[in-house]
């Protein structure tokens, strides 16, 4: 299958994120140089202290010359966590996908600028040749990864292999692409960071066709400070255990 026009839904949770506008602008500018792209970004403000302003987003749209870039803005009244915000974006995008013109790709992306809009084409590409899910792989994408972070990621990769049966080159990379079958399969219950593992569990359970695409992750001090710490790994394990114990009991 070759696409003439690629309709992409970008699912973008944000929480007190100063780089949100820059991230959106980079997506918009990428649309301008990719003649086949038609992108709608589903921004879910997860209860930021200062709400994401609609007029600030409209300001971004004024510079959208090709007219293939649109936004949908939703806001959680209280902070629930990144997983919950991503699930809201997922439902929102499915609600907006019309039968006549469905989205070809659903892309999850971080708002803090660590994922590059320039990698969108590479990430979405494998969907056209039959993949249901494409995971970004920062190890093959020429990312300069701090050594400690690389070690943690390798450990996480083994753990995810054990938990999900999916053996992939990268772990907890939030840059992913799904086709419609894929995105419908990954309903998330994990509100926190454990949703990344949950997604892989659902992908494995649904028997989806999985591919990986090289992406470059941009690290700076802000993203490293905010990124998952070692404590975060324990919280993820706890959340996975809780869901295992409690889901479906109520």
């Amino acid at each position: 299958m070759v696409w003439g026009r690629v309709r992409i839904a970008v699912l973008l949770p944000t929480f007190n994120e100063p780089a949100l506008a820059a991230t959106l602008a980079s997506i918009r500018d990428q649309v301008a140089v990719e003649p086949t792209f038609d992108v709608t970004v589903f921004v879910v403000d997860d209860g930021s202290r200062v709400p994401v302003r609609r007029d600030a987003l409209e300001e971004l749209l004024r510079a959208d010359r090709p007219g293939r870039f649109a936004l949908v803005l939703a806001r959680h009244r209280v902070n629930l966590g990144q997983g919950a915000a991503l699930e809201t974006a997922r439902r929102l995008s499915l609600a907006h996908a019309r039968p006549a013109t469905p989205f070809d790709a659903y892309v999850t992306m971080d708002a803090d600028g660590q994922h590059r809009a320039a990698d969108l084409a590479a990430l979405v590409g494998p969907l056209a040749s039959g993949a249901d899910v494409v995971f970004g792989n920062r190890f093959t994408g020429g990312t300069e990864i701090p050594r400690v972070r690389a070690l943690v990621l390798r450990a996480a990769r083994l753990l995810e292999w054990a938990l999900t049966g999916l053996r992939l080159g990268d772990a907890h990379n939030g840059f992913r692409a799904f086709d419609e079958r894929g995105i419908r399969a990954v309903q998330m219950h994990q509100r926190g960071m454990a949703h990344a593992t949950e997604i892989r569990q659902e992908v494995a359970r649904a028997g989806l066709v999985v591919a990986e695409a090289p992406v470059r992750v941009h690290y700076d001090e802000a993203s490293l400070a905010k990124g998952q710490r070692s404590w975060g790994a324990l919280a993820i394990l706890r959340d996975i255990l809780y869901k295992y114990l409690f889901a479906g009991v109520s």
Binding site: A70, Y242, V249
Partner: protein, 153 residues
């Protein structure tokens, strides 16, 4: 009674008085249950021999163990049940917050349908103006016309 016995009794009485002062009128029934449980506990603290006598009747070595085993088992169960309730409660909260967010989501540019080539129109007059100053800041609050609020299918 030993010094440890007096200290434990003081702890039990102190805890009960603290709950009485802080929960007071709001949780009368809870306090009655707590008072009864503490009274039983206090009796066994004050009279370890009666606990030991009971323990021997059912084949447990020490009176303290007779009291502790069921209490620990009950606490573990209570902790699990509690976590489950909190988990389910937060699940419900998430659904509620999510539904409100989706119902009040706005499509930009105003009036556009996402995923189509119809965007690029100028935003209408009055759009993007924060009229009511609501600090909660739902996207839908920021519009004066209400025409572009998207609804779930």
């Amino acid at each position: 009674m030993t010094a440890a016995g007096y200290a434990l009794l003081a702890l039990v009485v102190g805890l009960f008085l603290f709950d009485l002062a802080t929960l007071g009128t709001r949780a009368r029934r809870l306090l009655i249950v707590e008072g009864l449980l503490f009274a039983v506990g206090g009796f066994f603290i004050a009279s370890p021999d009666s606990a030991t006598w009971l323990a021997h009747q059912v084949g447990i070595g020490r009176g303290v163990d007779f009291v502790l085993y069921p209490v620990v088992i009950w606490l573990v169960r209570e902790s699990l049940v509690n976590r489950h309730h909190r988990w389910a409660e937060r699940e419900r909260l998430s659904e509620l917050v999510r539904t409100v967010a989706i119902d009040r989501a706005v499509s930009l540019p105003s009036g556009s349908e996402p995923g189509s080539f119809t965007s690029g129109s100028e935003p209408g007059p009055g759009d993007g103006v924060h009229g009511n100053g609501d600090s909660a800041g739902d996207p839908a609050d920021a519009q004066s016309s209400g025409s572009s609020t998207s609804r779930t299918a």
